[in-house]
């Protein structure tokens, strides 16, 4: 915990909030994520987790507050500009490039690093070709990493739900992000598959990427988080390390439920 204060945060959120009509979907949320750290955001359904992600990644314009990415105020910046600054994410409601192959989906994630000029692309100049080849190689490696290597040439639309979730992770990683936002990456995966994803996330974090995670699988969250932020009705109701959060009575009441806590304890 003390380590948190040592290095400069990669992502800092201050007093972030947004309203939809009369609904305060998110209000006054603030925390920060350090390089190599995994911060989880948990909370009941409709607490505002995905909305928070959407504000951080530039899909919604925050109504209040600031988002600071590596000391730069990026509040309300367009998603593609954020991507160029190293922010990458996955989606709770899958956003797959359906008609492209699995490989092309992953390569598209690498877009930033192969971005050339339309004219060069039109005339197939050598630079453009070289960049293409390089991104393909790194995309393949990523697909192998998430276990989709064999499906590289399938049309993305033909994958099962769990496979698509992993494809999204691969695509987000292809960006070589500094900050990675994962919205329920383990949804649709069984316990064993979830552990694989766990490992992957831990590896990525170990490379120095700041990770912000939304997940309802408490076992996973408790296992890998360095820090946990709890939202309820858009407000932060608790924050801290896994141990303290999981014992926080307010969190138990609003989110975990006594049954689940007991079950988890029993399993442990």
């Amino acid at each position: 915990m003390s380590a948190r204060n040592d290095s400069a945060p990669l992502l800092r959120i201050e007093g972030l909030g947004i309203d939809f009509g009369g609904l305060r979907a998110v209000n006054d949320v603030g925390f920060s994520v350090l390089p190599g750290e995994i911060v989880s955001v948990i909370g009941p359904n409709g607490a505002g987790k995905t909305t928070l992600f959407n504000m951080i990644s530039g899909i919604y314009l925050p109504g209040r507050g600031r988002v600071v990415l590596a000391d730069e105020d990026v509040t309300g910046m367009a998603p593609h500009l954020l991507a160029r600054r190293g922010l990458s994410r996955t989606f709770q409601n899958l956003q797959i490039f359906q008609t492209m192959t699995v490989l092309d989906n992953a390569v598209a994630g690498h877009h930033l690093h192969e971005r050339g000029n339309v004219l060069a692309d039109l005339f197939c100049l050598p630079g453009s070709r070289r960049r293409s080849r390089a991104s393909e190689a790194s995309a393949r490696a990523l697909l192998d990493r998430v276990g989709l290597g064999r499906a590289a040439h399938h049309e993305a639309g033909s994958l099962s739900y769990g496979a698509l979730k992993r494809l999204e992770i691969a695509r987000a990683l292809a960006l070589n992000p500094r900050v990675l936002l994962l919205d329920e990456p383990a949804a649709g995966c069984n316990a064993v598959e979830t552990e694989e994803i766990d490992r992957l996330i831990a590896e990525v974090a170990a490379e120095g990427v700041a990770i912000l995670l939304v997940e309802h699988d408490m076992k996973m969250v408790m296992r890998i988080s360095n820090h946990i932020v709890v939202l309820d009705h858009g407000e932060m109701i608790a924050e801290g390390d896994p141990g303290s959060v999981s014992r926080d009575p307010r969190v138990i009441e609003a989110y975990l439920g006594t049954q689940a806590t007991e079950a988890a304890d029993a399993e442990r």
């Binding site: 899909i59 709770q92 409601n93």
Partner: protein
């Protein structure tokens, strides 16, 4: 001042024609996301069949009813023979099918009805009515009444009936619609029948004003489409308001600016409106979240 009044009356007359055509697009669009490019041909069929039935000696109201039924049957046939077999095809492919259907129907009409212009008598005579120094033909009132009646009927259909909502559900998510027990094929057939019937009704009402021939469909469909988009596709209110607005805009431009560029003015305004309201005046943004 009487000029302005005359422009407005003209605009409302023409606008009601556009609105009727635009309303016809609504149901098929709401059931399938397809803009039916053959909608103009339904309007043509409505007018043409009435012309010939009336010409054969039937009383006008009966001729009109026959025309509407025949056109509705054509709509059902279009769905059964062309749209349903292509189930699962991308929306653009379905649109091309409707373009093909429009060419086909026009081709048939050209052979069956010939290439002459036709009209039948206005329902309530040709004596113009005077309104504040301007004049309007009684048939225009019929067209306006028709547009309003269809609008009200559609509005009730989509907001007050379960079937109306089932039609919306079919377009929104076909698989889910089947999973709750909606017979999506039937919904499509129904919507083609209703759209065609509305188109035919439009044809019946406007022919005394605009005249009809085998190839009036495209021009009407184009303006109706533009009107529907201006108002917001799929929303009956949008079709009505979009149509009237388009008609009035054209009339005012023709009256005050330039009759050569009246269509241009209409489209410039459409583009300007869409720039401010990308879903048209009454269109709702779809709320798919990520």
């Amino acid at each position: 001042m009487p000029e302005l009044m005359q422009y407005l009356l003209s605009g409302v007359t023409v606008g009601a024609v556009y609105a009727l055509v635009a309303l016809g697009f609504t149901i098929i669009y709401n059931a399938s996301d397809v803009v039916n490019f053959a909608q103009g041909e339904f309007v043509m069929l409505g007018g043409m069949v009435t012309v010939f039935a009336y010409g054969a000696g039937l009383p006008l109201p009966l001729a009109a009813v026959i025309a509407i039924l025949v056109t509705a049957a054509a709509g059902v046939a279009l769905n059964k023979l062309a749209i349903e077999p292509a189930r699962g095809a991308p929306v653009v492919s379905l649109i091309i099918i409707t373009i093909g259907a429009s060419i086909f129907i026009k081709g048939v009409a050209q052979i069956v009805f010939g290439k002459q212009l036709h009209r039948f008598p206005a329902f309530s005579g040709d004596a113009p009515l005077r309104v504040m120094g301007a004049t309007i033909l009684p048939q225009s009132l019929w067209v306006m009444a028709g547009a309003v009646a269809v609008f009200v009927a559609l509005w009730l259909f989509f907001t007050r009936t379960l079937t109306g909502r089932a039609v919306l559900a079919t377009a929104n998510n076909r698989v889910a619609a089947q999973l709750v027990g909606i017979n999506t094929n039937y919904m499509m057939t129904l919507s083609f029948a209703l759209s065609a019937a509305i188109g035919a009704l439009a044809g019946v009402l406007v022919t005394p004003i605009t005249l009809t021939s085998y190839d009036v469909g495209i021009a009407l469909a184009l303006k109706g489409f533009a009107a529907a988009m201006l108002g917001g596709m799929g929303n009956p209110m949008g079709a009505l308001v979009g149509g009237l607005l388009l008609g009035i805009l054209e009339a005012l431009t023709a009256g005050y600016i330039s009759s050569q560029y009246k269509d241009a003015a209409a489209f410039i305004i459409i583009i300007a409106v869409l720039f401010a309201m990308p879903q048209g005046l009454f269109g709702r943004k779809s709320t798919d979240r990520v």
